[in-house]
Structure formats: C-alpha cells, structure tokens
C-alpha cells in the first residue's frame, strides 16, 4: 500500500515554489493496477516520481505525507517508509519501468548483466549459473527468447527493449511497479503485447502496478482504477470501467468525448484552450477557464476531491 495525503511536491525555493503536485490525496492498495492519466504538463510524471521517492534534481516535498507499507514477498515481514526514505526500497520492494528510448540502457552492458545489476539479495540466491537459468525461465514465461540475455541494447528493437525493461523491473519481484509511459512511441500491436505482458506479471506477482500514460486507450485496456490529473491536481478517481461508462468531472467528460469511436464519421470536438500555468495557478477550480459549466463559485473557490458516490471521489462543485 502506498498513499499520498495532501502531498505538495514540486521545484524551486519556498518563495517561488512550483507545485507540480498540489495537495494531492490518493491511496493505492495492494494487488491492483492503477492508471494516472492527463495531458502533458499536468504533473503526472512528478506524481510518479513522488510515489517512487525520487527527490533529486531539485524535486522536493513541501507538504503533506507520502507513506508506504509493503509486506515482503519472501519473508512476509512488513516494511514502512515515508517520503524520500522510499529510496531505501528501490529495486527491492519498488521497481520502475522507464520509457524505452534508445539510451535508457547502458550501451556497453549485455541484457543479462543489466537484469542482475541491482537485484536485491532476496532474488540473488544460488550460483551465477543458477541465477541465469532462473532469469532465462522467467523471460521464457513472458514470451521472450533466452538469446535476449546475450544481446546488447542496440541490437534490440524498440518493442523488444521495452519488454526487456518490463522484465528487468518484474524480475526484482517487487510489491510495487511504477511505469512511466511504457508504450508511448510504439505501434499499436507491440503496445498491446507489452500491456498484456504487464497484466500477466501483475497477476502472477499479485503486486501493485501504477501506470502513467497520456493515452486513455492504454488505461482502458488494463487498469482497474483510474485517476485523472489536471494542472497539478487530481480531479477524479474511480474504477476504470465506470469512468469510461459515465465520466463525472467535466474535464474527464471532455477527454472521453474526444476519443474516436469505431464506425464514426467526421472529427470529434476537442477541448478549447490550454491548461493554466503551474507557476501561477488560478485561485479557484483550475479547470474553470475551460469548463462549459463554470459558475462564479468555480472561479473563486477550489473544489475538494470528495466522495460523490461509493467509490468515486470527484473534485467539482456541481457533482
């Protein structure tokens, strides 16, 4: 389980703080796939870094709580960490799948070394040959050839590289895997295969997968729950199926209305305008300027993320 409570995370000194994650509360439970969606610059990548505890390169937590509690898959003992201390759990209880660009893997190291490099003691038992055999079997179970182990990164195709990255994160056998746009820049067929692989891994390890993507189609295919981010805030959380069937927040409604449907002719209408700047966010609801239903109260007062029905918190004055 990992939870953010009124977390404020961003860049810069107190006087000129840019909150890319502003007062966000979300709880991600065990054994589920949670998606985070939103336009670029909405703070979803910062949210992912906060969940990972990656407070470097100027990113810092200014307020709220970030707490994690995991039960080790092997020993059954429970560990608890908060904030930046999450880094003590990297490549142990938490692992990470980056976007598989050309330069994400060390170009001078074979894939097998890159899988072994960083593994926790828990997974490293036995001889080297034994470990390699387990890795090979693991890859085979995921539909990857054993020969991949002997390859250098430049020999892998884009799709293959992404699958290797997923496999590297999964072999750690962590309680939480965070994936940052893992299927962006890949074609639809390869994308589908990678998504299925991630679902398969989550089912097998019974852990938590958090998936950040701007692509609602990706979320529709595999996530159990979905959080919609807008300008540093989360505006709506709920079971993915329910959100797609009946979006509640006006922003979510607009996003889903803009999706193309099978058998439909003509262009879909998109949202007018652009998200507000995070440097100086507006006082009231951040979506007010683009919202078709905005009233005076929207521009004056920021709505809280509150339960409107049993399992669906929404941040809107009129829901």
């Amino acid at each position: 389980m990992i939870a953010l409570e009124n977390a404020v995370v961003g860049y810069g000194p107190d006087k000129a703080f840019i909150a890319a994650v502003d007062d966000v509360t979300i709880t991600i439970g065990d054994n589920e796939i949670v998606g985070i969606a939103g336009e670029s610059g909405c703070g979803k990548s910062t949210l992912l870094r906060a969940l990972y505890g990656d407070f470097t390169h100027g990113l810092r937590q200014r307020g709220g709580e970030i707490n994690a509690r995991f039960t080790d898959a092997g020993t059954g003992t429970t560990v608890e960490k908060r904030g930046a201390n999450l880094s003590e759990l990297w490549w142990d209880q938490i692992s990470y799948v980056p976007q598989g660009s050309m330069s994400v893997l060390n170009p001078l190291m074979k894939v097998d070394k890159q899988i072994i490099d960083g593994l926790p003691k828990r997974e490293k038992h036995g001889s080297r040959a034994d470990l390699r055999k387990r890795i090979a079997n693991f890859l085979k179970g995921l539909g990857l050839e054993e020969s991949v182990l002997e390859a250098y990164p430049h020999q892998l195709s884009g799709g293959m590289r992404q699958r290797v990255l997923v496999a590297i994160a999964a072999f750690v056998n962590p309680r939480l895997i965070l994936a940052d746009e893992p299927t962006t820049a890949l074609d639809v067929v390869v994308q589908k295969r990678i998504l299925l692989m991630m679902v398969e891994i989550q089912r097998r390890l019974k852990n938590t997968l958090v998936l950040v993507s701007h692509d609602l189609g990706v979320h529709y295919q595999i996530t159990d729950r979905l959080a919609i981010a807008y300008a540093g805030k989360i505006v709506e959380i709920g079971p993915t199926q329910k959100i797609f069937a009946a979006p509640s927040h006006p922003y979510t409604q607009a996003l889903i209305a803009a999706l193309p449907r099978v058998g439909e002719k003509g262009q879909r209408s998109g949202l007018e305008g652009r998200p507000p700047s995070l440097v100086k966010p507006p006082q009231g609801c951040r979506f007010a300027a683009r919202c078709p239903e905005a009233q005076d109260i929207c521009r004056a007062q920021s709505p809280e993320l509150k339960m409107r029905s049993a399992d669906r918190p929404v941040a809107c004055h009129f829901r």
């Binding site: 470097t56 880094s87 994400v104 893997l105 060390n106 170009p107 490099d117």
Partner: protein, 332 residues
C-alpha cells in the same frame, strides 16, 4: 563477417595512408629550389671531409638513388615506393658509413616507442581518473583545483615544459641528468635503473601535457554522460555511486577517448621528437636531428619515412582495437 570486412577495409586504408605519406616525402625534395644532391654534396664538403672525384661521383650516384632521381618521374616514384615498402632498404648511413640506416633506426625505435608508450599510458590512466572524478563531482574543490591545473598545463608546448623541467631539475636543483647517458652491462639492474633514471624528465614533459588534455576531455565527456537516461535509470535502480561510476560512467566516458587518442598520435609523436632532441634521448627524434646536422640524407629519408609508417601503424592499431571494445561496432 562484418568484423572481418571492417578489418580488411581498415588495412587497405592503412596501406593507402602510408603510400599517401610516402608520396608527400617523394615530392618534398623535388619542391626545393636547389638540387638536393648538390646541396648535400656541398654540405659534406663543408664538413671538411676530403673526397677525390671518383668518390664524389659514387656519392652523387648513391644520393640520386636515395632520392630516386633516375628515370622518368613515374619510374622514380614507383622505385621509391617499392624500395621502402617492399625491401625497407634505405641504404647506408652517410655519417656513420657503412652502417645501414635500417640498423640505426631499429636501435632507436625501441627508445621512442618505450618513451611514448609509457608516458602516454601513465598520462592516459591518470588523466582519465582525474577527469572522471572532476566531471562526476564538478562542484567539489578538489575537482575545480585539478581542472585549473589541467587548463594551465594543457596549452603548454612540449618543448617549453622540457626546458622548464630541465632548468628546474638539472640546473637549479641538480637531481636529474641534463643529457641522457645510459650506463651498465646489458640486462643488468644498473642498466635498467639508468634507463629509468634518464627517462624520467623526458617522460614527465610528455606526461604532464598529455595529462592536461585527457583531464579536460574526459571531464567534458563525463559531465555530458551524467545527463544520459541510462545513468538516471541506474540511479533509480538504487545502485551505489561507486558502481554507477565504475560500471556505467567510466566505460562510456573512456570509449570515445580511444578515438581521440588515434587523432592525437601524430601530435604526440611531434612532441616526443622535440623532447628527445632537447634531452639527447637516443630515439628516432635524436636520429632525425643528427641526420639534419650531419647532412645524412639517407638517414633522414629513412627516419622520416619510418616516422610516417610508425604513426600510421599506431593509428591503425587503435582503430582495430576499438571495435573489439565497443559492442556497438562489434555486433552490428
């Protein structure tokens, strides 16, 4: 298969480069305003050696042979290239008659090779080490100090450093010998220590300059690498700083330095020539210098042809080693 093709291609280029260099050597004497043979004879005469007419004629012939002045230009050219590449015969030395030039060169070559190889290796290892640390922690005072030193050292010409070192350590504090005198029986401990002792200053003058260059180069490479995605990924894997530095940054920072090394060899060779001359170090540089002073053209052509071949060979060896180290070329 691809690797074989690469090697074959590189070998062809190597031969072409040597032919190219020798072509320059072939034409240079023909550019001069004076007939090199007559200039040479005048020089020999000026040194006070008495020769009767038949000796002069024989010398003239031998010199014409050295310069390949017999036959048409094309014939001359072909004979010149063939003689150097196929037989390696540069004729007898004129100043140390009748020792063959090749023998003198073979005696000198190990000195140049040893001096240059040792000092390059020392400078390379030290420079890479310091440059890596300076690039990894650019804000630390030690890194700034080392970079400052490197910036100060790098632009200094070899001969200036050689002069400064010899002024300081041979005149002011008489620690090291001013000129090289090797003593000791063959393969004795005395000989080895004498060689090391005499090589310290010449080697230091090369090491110090080359060290500066590598620090600057590796530091730039390292600070660029720090922003690479795979370094960030390694960090997010929770790997220790030392591991990231040794397994991720170091190999990736050093690889391009090997290509730079290939580009630098010619300049470093120039430097070692001057250093040898200034320290009387018995290598190729001193031999070239002797040849110039004595007007020994056989020796001059021989040593200079060999310089061209040596530098081309060193460059080729590095080019051939490179793909063995870089998997991106090895497994394409």
């Amino acid at each position: 298969m691809r690797l074989l093709r690469y090697i074959a291609g590189r070998l062809v280029v190597y031969l072409l480069v040597i032919v190219f260099g020798l072509t320059i050597l072939f034409f240079v004497p023909r550019l001069g305003p004076t007939d090199p043979v007559e200039a040479m004879l005048a020089k020999v005469a000026a040194q006070g050696a008495y020769m009767d007419a038949s000796q002069v004629d024989r010398l003239r012939e031998s010199l014409a042979d050295t310069f390949g002045l017999n036959g048409t230009l094309l014939e001359q050219y072909w004979a010149f290239i063939k003689r150097i590449l196929l037989t390696g015969d540069f004729g007898p030395s004129l100043s140390m008659y009748p020792t063959p030039v090749m023998e003198l060169i073979l005696n000198a070559l190990p000195w140049t090779f040893g001096l240059l190889l040792t000092s390059t290796l020392i400078a390379w290892v030290l420079g890479n080490f310091v440059g890596l640390l300076a690039g990894w922690r650019p804000e630390s005072n030690a890194a700034k100090a080392m970079e400052g030193v490197a910036i100060f050292l790098y632009p200094i010409p070899y001969y200036i450093l050689a002069l400064v070192l010899s002024i300081l350590f041979s005149y002011v504090w008489q620690i090291f010998p001013l000129t090289t005198t090797i003593r000791g029986a063959p393969w004795s401990w005395d000989l080895i220590s004498s060689i090391v002792w005499n090589s310290i200053l010449p080697a230091a003058s090369i090491v110090i300059v080359v060290f500066g260059w590598w620090v600057i180069s590796v530091k730039a490479q390292t600070s660029q690498l720090k922003d690479e995605e795979f370094i960030r990924y390694a960090r997010l894997k929770g790997l220790s700083q030392t591991r990231i530095l040794t397994r991720y940054v170091l190999p990736n920072a050093i690889l391009p330095q090997i290509t730079f090394l290939a580009l630098q060899i010619g300049l470093m060779f120039n430097g070692s020539l001057i250093t040898e001359i200034l320290f009387d170090y018995p290598g190729l540089g001193l031999l070239i210098y002797t040849a110039v002073l004595q007007g020994d053209f056989n020796l001059l052509m021989g040593t200079i042809s060999l310089s061209v071949i040596a530098v081309a060979t060193a460059t080729m060896v590095i080019d051939l080693i490179y793909p063995l180290i870089d998997p991106r070329i090895r497994h394409r």
